[in-house]
Amino acid sequence: MDAIIRVEGLSKTFITKERRKGKKGKRVVHALKDVNLEVYAGENFGLLGPNGAGKTTLIKCLTTLLLPTSGRAWVNGYDIFAHEDEVRASLGCMLMGDRGLYWKLTGRENLDYFGALYHVPRSVRRPRMQYLIDLLKLDDFIDRTVETYSSGQKMLLAFAKALINDAPILFFDEPTVTMDVPTARELRRIVRSLNKEEGKTIVYTTHLMHEAEELCDRVAIIDRGEIIALGTPNELKSSLVREDVVHLEGVLPATTIEKLRAIQGIRNVAVQAETNGRTKLSVLCDNSRLLLPRIIEAVTGNGASLEYIKPQEVTLEDVFIAKTGRSLAVDTREVVKEEKRGGGGRG
């Protein structure tokens, strides 16, 4: 298959000034580290990772908004350094959520304006706008100024804006993030149809594993600026086929995780959520049936109260946990801060 996007050794380092306790200093952040990947024409490619993992940085580099520190990349055959305008003309992007719209203009005026910026001729622009208005059911609010829109309506307009130039490659950065459940479901249906019926190549970033599993032909899992796993959702899940996942929830003392990790046969333990003194854990192990009694024994006692325990099918989230020991819900930036405070940490 032909690679429509090719990335070779792409790295991005930010040097930011910071002021801590009145002292000025510099902070070096390696947002991308030697990223290599290929996205094939007509593919729906997912970038999965927690907040702060480097997904948006990678997309910003590929869309020319950000200049990489080193490495090379080609989009639709064009070098992102040498042919910026050709790269931009090849893309339709929804990167900033509901930002990036002119609030004093109506939705229709926004689409018209962005169409003109992409050099879409007026004769093509008008029918294209009407097609998008019908496709996304925007007709109820398209002639109102954007300032009167709800968050979901702004997201839909931003999505329509990404399609106005009918580009062969579409970048969507967490497009469903502020949408209600039915609208998000409808948007995913449209993304699928753009890919399968119109043959668009789609790069879709999300931290929602079910979106990636539902939509993407292949997924790259990105963490701390590195691609830690790449393949079809089934390939990634089958890499853990000999492993089981046990989900459990309850009032669990802090020592529980260490106790669980000490059990032979347990590969990794990650905190999924902590609310009102209750903790949700995912335990990755070799054989859940065999280990279940020992897991129960480890999480009970010492004032613990186990409320829920269930072995479950492997998901992409479990793949992430297996690779990193953390849940996708955890903000990578917070983890890095925690590890710096504790003096430990990876890379």
């Binding site: 930010f14 908004l65 950000l66 990167l95 990036g100 719209l101 004093k104 203009l105 005026e109 050099h119």
Partner: protein
Amino acid sequence: MSWKKIVEFSRYPVAFVALFVQIFLIIAMFLFAALAFTPPDTPPQEGQTLGAVVVYGFVIGLFLSFTLWEIGFSIREEQTRGTLEALYLSPANKFSSLVARVFAILLWVTAVSAFAIFFVGSVVGGLPVQNAGLALVVLLFSVSGFLGIAFVFAGVTIKLKETAQFLVSFLQFFFMIFSAQFFPFAALRSASPLIVDGVSRWLPVSYSVDAFRSLLIGTENGKFPELAPIEVEIAIVVLFGIISPIVGYWVYKRIERSARREGTLGEY
């Protein structure tokens, strides 16, 4: 871009009218202050020359201020709303989008300037209008030169964000005083010749102001131009109009590239 600006203006009718009226209040303030200190036995021709000094300098000041303000303000606004990144995602020519940003406002400034000249003319009983064609050429090259300053300012806005708005206010008053927009350079010289020789002479904007109003008032009486012979002033303004946008855009591109390297293009 210009179309979008016009549509956006039309959505703020109160602000639009207030700005229009405000311009006349400013010019009235300077004009009446100048007339108040004019001796009662001053011949009408002197009063007309005084009015011409104020209003013609004001016209240049208006073009400079609005070019700077519009570019700085609109880039800042786009930065905070996230539309600047959206603009950079498109293949639209960035030079055209910068120029188009001020095109609508320059049309508006042209209309306001015509009204201002009419207003002052009716207060002082007419204004001298000589060499109108050449004055227009000076105005066009001056506006081209101001665009160059505005390009630099656009880059500065991307980098400095909110601080840039304070910088433009400072620049407005700096040029208003040191380029003698509302009074003759003789007034600056009477305070201290060093002001004119040490500052005003080094500002291309000063030559725009002096050449524009000297051409319109007339150079025969020996009072105008005040900084250099008119041929020299016109040459300076023409060079300013050619070199400034080239240098300004180069500086803008450098700053914009640095912002793209640092990831600050869309920061707000």
